[in-house]
Structure formats: C-alpha cells, structure tokens
Symmetry: C4
Subunit: 264 residues, 4 copies
C-alpha cells in the first residue's frame, strides 16, 4: 500500500453521484500498521471462532479519514492478508482495487459508517446460531454479563419490508441505508434469513461482540428450551457492565484470540 496525500472530504456526500463510474476517489493514505494488523487478525479470529465460514467480512474505519474504511477484497476470511485489504469510500467505491473484486455487500459497512460516527469497526456474519433469532420473532436478550452489549435490544432487519422480493443481499447504498436505520443506535442488527451486522468502537470490540452474541444465542436457545421463565440480565445490570468497561475492551481475550489466529 503506497502512501498518498491525505485529502479528507474528497468524496464528500455532494459529489457522490458524480464520482461513481467516472473517476476513482482519492485515497486517505495508508492506514496505520496496527489497524491493518488488527483487521487481518479480526478476519482470522472470527473464522477460527466459528463466527465466519467461507463468507462474511470485517471492516475498520480508516484512521486518517472518517469517510473511508478498509476491508478485504472478496476473499474467504481465513485467507485474508494485509495485501488483500482495499480502501473504500462511503458509497462503496474501492480506491485501490486494481481489478480486484470487492465484496458485494460492502454497503452494509459503508452506510453504517456514514450513519454512526461512533463506530470504528463492523462485522457481517452468517453464524448458524444467530439465524433462528432472525426468523422466529424470538428476541435475542442477554443471558449473561458477557453479552451486556445487547442489553438494549437487537433489532431485526427484514429486507422484504422495503425492497420486496430480492436476492437477500445488501448490495447497494439504499439497502445499506435501510439496514443502518434499523440498527439505529444499537450494537447489533439481525438480518432475517441472512445473518447479522455487529458494530463497535474498535476492531477488538466488534470482533469480541460477534463472538459473544453468537455464544449468547446458543445459551439463550438452550435456556428457553429448558424453561418458559428465563431471567435475563436486567437492562440496568447490562448498563452497569457497559459503564464498567464492557468486558474490559475484550483486551484479555483479544491477546489470546490474536495469538491463536495468527499462529504465534
């Protein structure tokens, strides 16, 4: 990744239509090495932890521009290396594709970054344990403190409501916007018959939440099968966990996950 001049705002909203299909947007410059390292780790960690399989993706907002984000070219998560990372603007245009195909659902990421300035990283996954909560109307709720980040609820996005019969993919800006609207100010949004999008301020937080929302789904399903009367975390308990520093930023686990996923 070659360094280029930092040109914040070059892909500002007003010129979006003009840029598409006409000229490549200008790069925000190289992302920090630490961010790149964590992003590659994020792909591999989520594959190793069974949240992603051959599909799904992770992104991070560019550290030099709020209007840029970084994610892999279309590639299975477990195979992603730093050399596969592309820079995108918030319309989903790749800055440095050089013929490499982007993920068709990059608009999930683009539109959430546009709508949520607090978000620094996003995961999109099809984890099997989460799908049932998107297709049954059963609300996903925190059964233990590790999932306090869903204490204020997990909305469900049904693409059918606004877009009718589709191929289920969030493959353009309009669909991405609708998804971002359903997400609102929450940490996660289920996608009916499809998967989930999880957001966080940092890569370790988005990745950690993806791991523990999946775990919570399994535990909740098990608890519900045992009793009609499950005691979930009180929203105030969940709030206190978040205020105390949500799982301490997943730092302790991140160190482990990263060392295992990167094989060192």
């Amino acid at each position: 990744m070659t360094r280029r001049t930092f040109l914040a705002g070059s892909a500002a909203l007003g010129v979006r239509a003009v840029l598409v299909g006409q000229q490549s947007p200008v790069s925000a410059g190289s992302a920090d090495a630490a961010l790149i390292e964590d992003l590659v780790a994020g792909y591999r960690i989520l594959a190793q932890q069974g949240v992603l399989d051959g599909f799904g993706h992770v992104s991070a907002r560019h550290n030099r521009s709020a209007n840029r984000f970084v994610m892999s070219r279309s590639l299975a998560p477990e195979l992603v290396t730093a050399g596969d990372l592309l820079e995108f603007d918030l319309d989903g245009n790749a800055i440095n594709a050089n013929g490499r195909a982007p993920y068709s659902e990059r608009f999930i990421h683009a539109e959430i970054y546009r709508a949520r300035s607090d978000v620094g990283s996003i995961v999109h996954a099809h984890a099997p344990s989460l799908i049932p909560f998107g297709v049954t109307g059963v609300p996903l709720r925190p059964v233990y403190h590790m999932a306090s980040f869903i204490g204020s609820g997990v909305p469900v996005f049904d693409i059918r409501k606004q877009f009718g019969m589709t191929d289920m993919l969030v493959s353009d800006s309009a669909k991405g916007r609708a998804l971002a609207q359903t997400l609102g100010d929450k940490s996660c949004v289920l996608m009916r018959g499809h998967g989930v999008a999880v957001v966080g301020g940092t890569i370790p937080i988005a990745v950690g939440r993806s791991i523990y929302i999946e775990m919570n789904a399994r535990i909740q399903a098990q608890a519900m099968s045992m009793s009609g009367n499950v005691t979930y975390l009180d929203p105030r308990e969940a709030q206190k966990v978040m205020e105390a520093g949500e799982n301490r930023g997943y730092e302790r686990a991140w160190e482990l996950w990263k060392s295992k996923a990167m094989g060192k």
Copy 2:
C-alpha cells in the same frame, strides 16, 4: 490413468445387459486434470467439514463423455487420492477397476447422471443433521439465503415404497432409477433412514450445497425448537438468489475449503 480412444455411446442403453459380466466397457479416456483435482478435493473437503465420515462418496461426470462418471474405489473419503479414482458407465460398471472394489451404491450416481443431463457432480452422505428430516415428515426448507438451492423443496425417497424390506442400500440400477425419479428436477433428495443425495452442475456446487444443506438442517431444527412460526425464505427470494448466481458458485468458499483440505 492411460489415455484411450473416446467412444461415446459404447455402453448405450440397448446393450447394457450384454455388457454386464461379459466385457469391460471402453474408457472415455483420461478425465481432465482439473476435474480429478477437484474431485479428490471434494472427498476431503466433505470429510473435513463433517458432511462425510468413513462412508459416503462424491462423483463427477466425465468431461469427455456424458455416459461416463468418475468416483473413488470403495474407500473412506478422507483417504481418497487421484490414484483411487475409477471410471464408470451409467450401468455402474467400472471401466478400470483392476480388481479394486467399487462402492456398492454407485447406482445412486449412475442413474442420476442418466436422468439429469444438467448434473455434473453428485454427493451421497449420511450427515447426522439431515437424517431427522428424512424420518419425521418435517420438510427441509431454507432458513437463510445460503440454502436457496432447496427453495423449491427437498423430496424424501423411501426405498420401502417400491422395494419393500431391503438392506436400505441403493445397490442396483432399479433402485438408483427410483431414487432419481424421486429427486426429479430438484437439487437434493433425502433418503429415509439413510442419508441424502445432492447434485450440482459442478463439483464445487455439489460440494457447497452438501455443506449448506447440512448447515440449514441444523439451523432449521434449532429455529423450529424455538417457535412454531418460522419465516422461511420466500420461494421467490430463493429463486432470486439462484438467478443472481447461487452463492457465486461457492468460488470464495471453495478456494478456502480446498486449501484447507489439501493442506496447502
């Protein structure tokens, strides 16, 4: 595998009875190296992904003759190498066995290739999560976009209907034909008290479908245990996924699966 003259139709239907036990059918010649590589990978991928265990098999239609297909000699999937592949005609006769035992259920493959010119690859498996759908009357339906290939339904073959009390195996042409008839124009057919047969135009598609029908079965069972009111993909949604290029031919995942299964 030595090259021989391409003699399409040498095992045409009319002379089937004569050939059996009398003379070995003529080979269609060497299959493409890429097809052989993918077929070996298919065996190993499905073992690694937990769809096959010590039993079950994968085949591919021969690239030089629509009347020939290639599959391993009787061997556990995880152990299959290129040297174990045999060529068969559509009556299930091995062309180049040289004393090596074929799978007794090769007729599953032979008769589906005969009935379905669009099919290029077939998987037969006993995946545990699929068995319940074959013995309960609960229809297998797509809970998410990854399983859109079953959007038009999964028929159940009950060998008992036509053949009465058997050893459950599809071990001759008549049973293979009955199975192919139950499959009809679908992508998958469950076999009551036995397993499944999955077809596709290519090896990656048949293998990918085998992986995601298994995943869908697990997810659907979980969803059903949580609610009596599961929202499946609308058949038109499933159709749109298929038209948009069913999971993009599983290309992205295939690259991963293959690299993991072949240890490189």
Copy 3:
C-alpha cells in the same frame, strides 16, 4: 510380552474361588500382534471419535484362549500402548500385572466373555449422548441403517434393582454377571446413570458399533425433538442390513479411523 505355554482351561469355572487371592492364573501366551495392534488402535480411535474421554475401556478376547481377555492397565484410553495391555481370566484376575493396577470395572468384560461365546471384543464408555437414554426410559432405536445392530433393541441395566445403593460401578463378578444377563443376546446394553457396554465379534465391529450407537443417539434425540412421529428402521430392514454384512464389518471406516488415531 513373553510367550508361555498355552494352557486352555486352567482357570475353568470350577476352580475360580480357589484361584482368587491364592495364585496367579497361567497365561494363555502372547496374543497375536494384529490383535494387540487393533486393540491399542481401538482405545485411541474411541478417544479421538469422542466416545471415550479420560475414562472407559476396550478389551478383546485372547486369540489363544476363550477364557482369557486382554485390556489395558488402568490408564486413560488416549495414552494406551501395547506395553500397557494386561491379560485377564474370566474372574477378572490379571495374569501379568506386575504391580500395575487394573480397571476396577474389568468385570463388565469378564462376565460378558463368559456368557457370550460369540463376543470377541467389548467397549465400556460414558458417551454423553447415550446417558439420557439410560435415565429417561426412552428406548434407543435405529434411525438409520448405520445403527442396524440395535434393531432388536437396547436393554437398560439398572444396578439398583439387584444391588440397591452402590457406587454405580460394576466392580465384581456378581455385578458383571447381572449386567451380562441384562445384555442377553443383544449388541449393546445401556447402564442407568453410568454409560454403555457394546460388544462385537471383532475389535473393529465393537468399536464401529460404539461410534454409531453414539451417533444414532444424537440423531434420534434430534428427530424426537422435531416430531412425535419418528419412522425408525423396520426390524426386518435392520435384520437385512445385518445379514448383508453390517456396514461391511466397518472395514472402510476402520482403515480411516486407525490411520488417524495412530497418526500415520
């Protein structure tokens, strides 16, 4: 293991009481190398396949004497080597212990070998999926052809019936005999609140059955959770599978299991 003279019948039933605690019974001589190799493989395979954990054991009847059997000294299955194998008589006396502790439940094996001349190998396991069938009264039945060996039923042994409050272990000949009586002429017997004993004519058959009874338990539990109306194999179908050569002696799978478990 040094070779000794073959003395069949030296531990005949009539002199059992005399021998115990008085003099070590005479060895039947070295067991065949192939039997020893398969027995060690059996321990490791069942550990690798998740049927055994740190507890449980496998044995084989001695090839030189119907009154002797071979099993490991008290050791976790995954650690067993040929050097850990001991020879026992049918009263559970070790011939060649040399201070090494035997499994306290060797009487499971001893008494089944005494009662069933057709049995050549026995597995005792605590596999988690099997325990529920021993404590609920729900009969374990074959949901697919791979488990045809339980087509005639799986009895449940409740140690409490004859022995009242115990430490649950089959740790003497009387308890072993009661278990063997409950087993009768079947292939498997569940032990309430404890585990299972599985028998077979050969080591691969006893091991293969242990793997597939566990698999069947998981599948059956899943099927039952989906429907109150599960179609099990007809007893005549199960019988036909057995007559056709029960999973072909597990030969194809055995080759795979052994190569994986022995790391070659």
Copy 4:
C-alpha cells in the same frame, strides 16, 4: 519467584484494613514446584476442554500458608505460565504484583478460601452449558456417576439479592463473602447470569469437577428435553461414589489432560 521467609499470619484478619493501600503483605514464600506446575496445567486444561475461554481463572491455596493463595495475573487462561502466577492474601491483595494487574474477581477465591478450610483449589468459569441452569431455576442434578460431587445440590448465587443492580462482578470482599455463603459446604455454586465457581481439595479435583459439571449440564439438558421423568442419581448413590473416592481423584484423566494441555 524468589524465596522469602515464611511468615504465617502476617495478614491476619484484624490488620486487614490497615494493610490495604498501605503496605504490601508479606509473602508466604515460594509455592511448591508441583503445585505451580499443576496450577499452570489447570488453566490450560480448562481452556482446552472448553470450560474456560478468554476469561475465567483457577487458583490454589498456598502450600505454605492457609492465608495465601496463588493465581495468575489478569491473563487469558490458555496463555498462563508459571511466571504469571501471583500470590494473594485473603483480602485479595497481591503480594508480588510488581505492576501486573490482578483479576478483578479474585475475591471469589479469597473469600471461599477464608470460609472453607477444606478447599485447596477453586475454578471460576462462564461455561455456556452451565449458564441456563443459573437463569431458569432448573436445578442442576447428577445424571451419571461422574457428577456425583453435585449429589447434594448446586445452589444459585444471585448477586442482585444483596447488592441490587451491579456490573455482575464479584469484585470486592463483601461480594465474595456473599458468594461463599451461598456456596456453603457444597462443591459448586452457580452464579445467575454469570457463571460458576467450583471447589476441590486439590487442583485435579477442582479441575475435574469443572469438566464434569459442564458435561453433566449438557447431558441433563438433553435428558430433560426428551422426557419429563429423568432418573437422577439417588443422593445415597452419589454419596457412595464420593466415599469410594470420587472418580479416583481424577488421577487417570488428569494424567491425560495434563499431557495434552502441556503438549508433551
């Protein structure tokens, strides 16, 4: 770990308040090498067996002082080495932190050691299969002999009862004391919406119980899903198992677990 003079009682209860924040308590001296080795193994075993993930911890009472215990600095279990172990007094003060952060929930350990002189080792875990039993009111009971240590019941600690809305963590002595009181004389205590604490006389026993309480939870949930009438171990049976030497001190399994977790 440097050797220091053994000064039992230096952190006696009466001077607790004075010591906190004023001067570091005096070390009881180096713990035995065998205890350190087993403690490190305990962390790694529980990670490998799926009882701990990136969170949770194991401790052992110091062999030189009943008022000291040893546990890792704040670190993911799988990464713990002997150099990460810290010594604590029963108020949760680290003796030799040297700037290394302790686990915030060390008070679980401190207060149980204070209350239970018979306890030599403690595990705190968030194992997914145990959470449902803490949030549904369904009592955890022994379905098989391997879990006889819960034969007298598993109490559930609800932090809300005494402390109202919290961040769910047992992060001070008062909360630790309340947890220890709920534990009483039992072997395990579930923590509502959080996890479990498991105690034992030795590290292998606390670790072994942690593994088998998790296993029992999975089996019990499965059994309950199959029948409303599960036969649990009779309390007298459980008692007899304990008297006969609870799973023989887990010795046989410990040898295996340790060799696998320590990679030798």
